[in-house]
Symmetry: D3
Subunit: 318 residues, 6 copies
């Protein structure tokens, strides 16, 4: 992958410094500066805008071109042809699951959807009107205590189980935050439901009604999850990676990422999705919404998402 | 500060790129790479070991030489001649406080030592044997909910009040975590006590005894706080800065930093201090401990701390 | 409505005072004394037995004649031909609902049956053997806090929503009080059930059994609700009106009314109903009970209720 | 007391009705209309503005003249020469206490200041931002459950003990509501403190500081309590009396009164006092405040209070 | 039953003492020493290994011969032909129930399966990793408070109701302890399920899944309950009897027995059963397990159980 | 100690059985029957009235003669010349402590007086009117969970620490039960107070008053503790021993003993003491009470206690 070199000469310094250049199949040249510190030189990059800290084998994103690839698959292919859990499997394992792997993965995630009852205790410590991102950050951080003793961060299997737990429990926690806010009882996950269906059930279901999730809404929700599955090295991802670089507990690191995501200059896309969902409201409004979404200027951060979204929801000509 | 240039040439690329070089009064040359991305080039630096993301006007650290300067003052001068709160004032304001400013600052911090009663509710959700760093991370994240509505992150005064709250409440939270662990009642802060004295009171006092903190231990504790006041751009600090770069809530960002600090390859120095304190146990053991600390090989991460510590606690020849 | 006059002369006072007289289509003459205070005269009426404080367009009651009219409909017509919710609609709107209005109203009330989870917290503060009226009074008063900020007492729509909430949530609260007393888990309302059926389900159902409410008992319960829908200006109603006259929160005012209703010289009828229900126990006992109720001397306060009740439950001759 | 007669003739009615007139030593003539109902006539008086429902042996108030007498003592005499507890004793017993009676009464009230720990449980059910009047209403209503079983409302001694409990516990409850609001720990009453001093201690004291109540503020608070000790038959008092007329639990009836007091058209004076206290803030501001209070137009409802207040706080010429 | 005598002569004592001898239809001679104390003599029997304190009409056990009779029925007959509740009925009443009695008894036990909600409060006081026997002991002791006031220990009916409550609630409590340990929500009993099925549902069911108990496992569980229904006068039984001999509350006495059962030298058989169940895991493993159980040396204490168990589970030759 | 033999011959049995006889320095002959079971013979002794299960080196009691010796010291000597903690030391170690041992033991017990905060959680699960013996039984049983993991019942030091914990924590628990009953806050132990003084402080002190225990009452309480320190092998002691014989957790075994003590035919003496204390009420009543106690017939069970009590409290002639 690397066969080029860059040469750096600094004024008032006799020697020149040779640095390896990594050339990807996609994207710009990348100069490896890791060896600079041993030569008594640092680079300075406020906000790390020019500095990559890892090679991503997972995601390629080019916001300007509206390209978002996961493991090489264009996001709109994924959104049209897979479920969110299949996309998760792809991101985790590098390949889409076959039929058996898919079912096994769905069962695996289903078996981890519940959260320890103590989580209810945490939630009751939050004021009813606490910001949901504050609650998510605190609750996910608190979850680190439940799985810390049995966690060997150096063991790949342990790390994988942690990923499964996070995927499975996040909708449960998010729904609990919402129920705490509106003062309704928490709805337990229903393991026979799909991932997005279950999330909507836990969000909007009540013990007064039989479970009854609108399948169109569930499908749209699943698409939205796919669109947000990974966005490469943004502020929240970088925070998770940086916190995790010291070998810290993965739940805490995700909490750190949630903290970063909360910031108004980063998580806006996130809030926008919820507001989008809110705005759609009913199946009959989808077309109108998509039309409007296509014409209105959207913040660049979520451009890829919205572009892909319009492609998915526009019915293909028959 | 910058009057030199570096020149970068990349194999297979016709042009050369000129980059400004920043030369500090202390330390190595720093090449500003922020403009690289506009030329279609990235640097690659796993762990950010060669990349600085900010200019620190606060701290200069050179672990190899055992140098740690805060605002230009050597750490052992600070440890011998100031209190922890004076050092905090110095870090926040650039100058040590005069007598009036010192008293005002102490009163200010005293007035913020209590935490909302809901914090007890959070704590009761943690298992008795949860890791203290997990609890600290969760609780500090949760605190973000109490001050979010009234916080304008763009207002310097709001940011300063948040700093004061964090300095004031951290010992209270830490002591509550410990009391939760051992099943004892929480001890409220006593505003007439000094910062370190108060911390020890909240940690080891009980409602069965009159407050009675060993002044030698309190003084040693205060020195230990000074030694840990700032360590420049380590993993936890960088995590806080990165999370905060999106404008997120400061309590959440500090929680993110705590997550990073938890990691075994970073927070070791931290645990070492507690174990050191544990090991000293009694005033009469200090000399022996210092002698041993001087001779034994300590982990490099806490080298500066221990070097400075031995200087402080060794009685000056009379 | 008023075209007569009354003339009042007071010994030792030169002038006579002319007062308007209001003559209803039913009932005695009513002298309007509101202007007296401006003439330096007060009336004195301990217990307000001779003083009406409002014109009721809703209810006409004549206990001696066994007449109870709501919006002009005799209570036994209502009890035989309508449901409790239809009667509520009548009392609120002046007319019985048509089929659509009925369904809409039932759906509306169903959507308000749940109470905030914090209510469970209040209940747990009560001793298991606390008097149910004490609990109802405290809990309803506490509910005022949940809807106060969004309530504009001057807005007719807000007032109407509050009425709907009170109708919908009262059975839930009453059943929760009962469950608290016997130490069983609270049963959530089931929105597909009828009003009285739901109440009985929440009272006597358990999570150990499938919902299974005796329809005869549910129907009888519904009749009993109709019979207690309104009793004009008794002590509890007057208390609600008096408390409300200052613009206070409607939940608090209803709590005030519950306090008044608790008193032994007023709420006796209320307790009697519960005991009546208790005594009936099983479908097969209804005939015997009605026969006995017809012959036995009942306290005059609930005379209208029992008279109407016997008429309803006596099977019409085939 | 009654030796005059009033004669009432109603248009279209042959007979005239003779009614007794009660003439007080102070105030307007009062016509006893209790017998009207037996003649088939009602009076109509929305808001009961012209109708007294009892003879008050306790309080005479004439807002227009700025006169407020308790048991014949002008309020400003009471405020200048007695404590609030002496005034309570006066209201309850008809005479001011001698030295022994005063001490005994103070000891008696001190022994009832604590509230059952379950009250903390109720409070934790309220949202942090619940309106304090909502909390007071709910909590006082809830207290009815603690003393109901042992209460014989027909026993004068039981009624008196209830009055003592209400006087003693009300400041404790009010302070608990405030502490709940700001998230601070509840401060237990200190029995060696005076009534107003204790209230301020429970409101503003914390476990971080030794008890330290400003005596000037305590004295002013005590005066404010005196000024609000009784205001005759206003909406809240009438509500308490009406609710109580059915023999209901006295705590519930007071809760009913609190509901009435909450209303914006009645409890304004009440809020004004708290705001006044807030505004004074410091001893040095009293003179300025009094001066301003004298000149500014105050709402008529609290006129008597403020007039009396200025008389008390203006230092007598030496 | 007694027609023999034993004669005791003590060295240095002139008289001989005559003692009645009780001869059972099964088992060794039993000398009645109750009268010895009146002769100034005691017997000494550490651990009461030679001393019976009662005549058991219920159970005959001879561990060496592998015989265990309840009311004369061999345990393997009971295990093969009855349910656990039938065996309970037998132990309580002396005879197996007929069809009606069986149904009535099952309904009776079903109606007592729930426990007071306060029990959840107790459980939340236990650490997540508390030993289950510690929890059972504490919780059962605590239950004594719920039924003490209405309990007349001298009334046979009251005693019987207590037995029914204990049989009905014990599985509920045991399952709650388990759920507390793993942090899952408590599952309410389902009254339409069989005794053992219900226990397994409460143990391993979750609100995420429809109730779904493996009938083979439920049947095996029922057999295991039968095998442990009574073991005559072992340490725990004797503790219950001794504690009960003072007329103490039956729930407390059972708690005392649980304390004794906890001890490693007594409750081993009990733990062995759970481990056995754990080990079997799946229907298909039963044969292998039974074969192994037959050959391996098992602790003598549970010999009878395992012998009987192998007989039951070995399919009869067809 | 044993040099005599008893000879047992059973009708219809050829051989005679020889049994060793143990003769104490005090009390009746004791025949060792432990070997009987190996001869195929049992003794039968309902209530174990003739059977001792251990040799007590601690206590000799002869209720008929009013003799109660602990380690050879008459109880009235102990009550007059020692404190309760000295008597505990004597019972545990065989000898009274010297001055240093006494202080060390008092400090040791003081350091164990607090109980884990979770205990408050248990208590809150009990109804306010639960029987105190039920609460004590449940709470002590629950405490077994806190010390189980670190307890090696075979280690004499662990057993001793458990004894110290039980002595130290029992008054704290008893006082907490009482405070739970009356709804007052729990009072923490004060380590500078004596054992009985501390108990009375925790029982009757409140946070509203400075600690202020009547020293005469404290001294009397201490005597009462001495009188109840040990009563040899009564039902509760035997229950503790029997439960403990299986190696069970000591806290659970003491809970078992509390269950036995609750029984009306055993714990009567216990209740009598509390009522005695209640009756004395004030220092000035002691003489009269003692006089009355001397003349009135007391239940035989507590005879020794009351006899000793009168001897202690009667002032010696000067």
């Amino acid at each position: 992958m690397t066969d080029k070199k860059a040469t750096l000469s600094i004024e008032g310094r006799a020697d020149t410094i040779e640095l390896p250049v990594r050339t990807g199949t996609l994207g710009p040249d990348v100069i490896d500066v890791a060896s600079l510190t041993s030569k008594g030189v640092f680079t300075f990059d406020p906000g790390f805008t020019s500095t990559a800290s890892c090679e991503s084998k997972i995601t390629f994103i080019d916001g300007n071109e509206g390209i978002l690839l996961h493991r090489g698959y264009p996001i709109n292919d994924l959104a049209q042809n897979t479920t969110y859990l299949e996309t998760c499997y792809l991101l985790l394992n590098g390949e889409l699951p076959n039929a058996t792997e898919k079912t096994d993965f769905e069962d695996l995630i289903s078996s981890h959807t519940m959260v320890n009852r103590s989580i209810e205790q945490f939630l009751s410590g939050f004021r009813h009107d606490a910001h949901p991102m504050s609650i998510m950050c605190g609750v996910v951080a608190a979850m680190s205590s439940f799985y810390h003793d049995s966690l060997d961060i150096a063991d790949p299997h342990h790390r994988k189980v942690t990923a499964h737990r996070l995927i499975a429990k996040m909708p449960t926690l998010a729904a609990m935050c919402y129920k705490h806010y509106i003062g309704q009882p928490y709805m337990y996950p229903k393991n026979h439901m799909g991932y997005a269906e279950n999330f909507l059930h836990m969000m909007f279901g009540t013990p007064c009604e039989e479970p009854n999730v609108n399948p169109v809404l569930a499908k749209a929700m699943d698409k939205l999850f796919i669109l947000h599955a990974d966005h490469e090295q943004n502020a929240s991802t970088s925070t998770v990676r940086l916190a995790g670089s010291s070998g810290a507990n993965p739940f805490s690191c995700i909490a750190a990422g949630i903290a970063a995501l909360w910031g108004p200059s980063h998580g806006g896309a996130n809030q926008a999705v919820l507001e989008m969902l809110n705005e759609i409201g009913d199946e009959k409004n989808i077309d109108a919404f998509v039309k409007r979404a296509k014409t209105k200027t959207t913040p660049s951060a979520s451009w890829a998402s919205v572009t892909a979204f319009t492609k998915i929801l526009t019915p293909a000509p028959k």
